[in-house]
């Protein structure tokens, strides 16, 4: 791998790491979610410093053209991250549904309670007035 390409990959990794750290500082991403992406940047750094690793792994598992292994690994990792996010979205959807139903029912019951309380207060006021 040419030195310029290695520098390019390294710079790319640095930009990506800084972006994730910035998002973390701004609280735009949770620590738990950022771990996956930081793991990704670690892989980019390792490959930019030791590009031969890919060749060695490819050779070991019988991949004839090493760059395809890189693509395969990239796709598999992204697939897992997407699945992880789908799970999280499903959980959040379920929680939003629960909350919405809870708010709807309790709003209704609170309104009903206030109306009943007002009606009782008015009735008491009427009785007191008549008593006097």
């Amino acid at each position: 791998m040419q030195v310029t390409l290695r520098v390019f990959i390294f710079v790319l990794g640095t930009i990506f790491t800084l972006t994730v750290v910035r998002l973390l500082i701004k609280k735009s991403i949770s620590e738990r979610n950022s771990l996956l992406w930081l793991l990704g940047t670690a892989v980019i750094f390792i490959l930019s410093i030791y590009p031969k690793i890919i060749d060695k792994i490819a050779y070991a598992i019988g991949v004839e053209y090493p760059p395809t292994l890189l693509f395969l690994l990239g796709i598999i990792i992204l697939l897992f991250i997407t699945l992880f996010h789908s799970i999280q979205i499903s959980i959040l959807n379920s929680q939003v549904k629960e909350l919405t139903q809870y708010i709807a029912i309790n709003n209704f019951l609170a309104k009903e309670f206030l109306e009943t309380r007002d009606a009782i207060s008015n009735a008491c006021a009427e009785v007191n007035k008549d008593g006097k």
Binding site: S94, K97, E98, T100, Q101, I103, A104, I105, N107, F108
Partner: protein, 238 residues
């Protein structure tokens, strides 16, 4: 407080809901009514309030099943003996409420389905929907041994035991509860019965099963049925 509650889920039904409520009230059946306004962006809520009927509003749209579940959860708090699901689009006939209530009061059924195919009136549906419904009937028959004539009917009556079960978090889908839920309940030995009902055609608005939706719907239901059967097997093994 009456013994039963009619739950009407409604989403943007300002043109139908007032008439539906007036028609139900005109039948003088001893049941309470609650409308679940599923985040409507029109005047649905206002129309219900004009009719002096209770309305519970979602802050945003959740889906037909979730709206029903809100009704079940409200019923749990109130302790109704039974509930009746009734659509807010005017397709269900209020004349069928009394037979449904009588069936539920007999207390020998957990789920009473208002079937459009048991001889009362004539109900026509598109070929695509017919295929979907027949396919569901077949799957129900194979997986439970029970013949259900109308698995997609939205007009149902539920005993306290049933709506208590449905009110629990993951026991009811947020979109369209149909054959999957029916299979689940039949396999859990809940008693299901059908009574003949009449169906009317929509005068306003658009059906939720129009166009190509039945195909997507069928795929979703097939997946849900598979999940129900697999889950049951896993629970047994676990």
């Amino acid at each position: 407080l009456s013994k039963g509650l009619i739950i009407i889920p409604a989403y943007n039904e300002e043109n139908n809901i007032g008439r539906v409520i007036r028609e139900i009230k005109s039948k003088n059946v001893d049941v309470d009514i609650v409308v679940i306004d599923d985040g409507s962006t029109d005047r649905t809520r206002e129309m219900v309030q004009n009719e002096k009927v209770d309305v519970i509003s979602h802050v945003h749209n959740l889906g037909y099943g979730a709206a029903l579940q809100t009704g079940f959860r409200y019923s749990v708090k109130r302790g109704y003996k039974f509930v009746v699901q009734f659509d807010g689009d005017g397709q269900h006939d209020p004349d069928d409420i009394l037979p449904m209530v009588e069936e539920l009061e007999r207390a020998d059924s957990d789920i009473v389905i208002g079937s459009r195919f048991l001889g009362k009136g004539s109900f026509k549906m598109g070929i695509l929907k017919q295929i979907v419904v027949n396919f569901m009937k077949l799957i129900i028959k194979i997986s439970t041994g029970t013949k259900i004539t109308d698995p997609t009917s939205g007009f149902k009556g539920l005993s306290k035991r049933t709506y208590n079960y449905y009110s629990l978090k993951e026991n009811f889908p947020h979109d369209y509860p149909d054959a999957d839920i029916l299979i689940q309940m039949l396999r859990l030995k809940y008693r299901v019965r059908e009574i003949p009902v009449n169906i009317r055609y929509r005068t306003q608005g658009k059906s939720m099963h129009s166009g190509l939706k039945p195909i997507v719907y069928l795929l979703k239901i097939l997946l849900s049925i598979m999940v129900v059967l697999l889950r049951e097997r896993l629970i047994k093994e676990g």
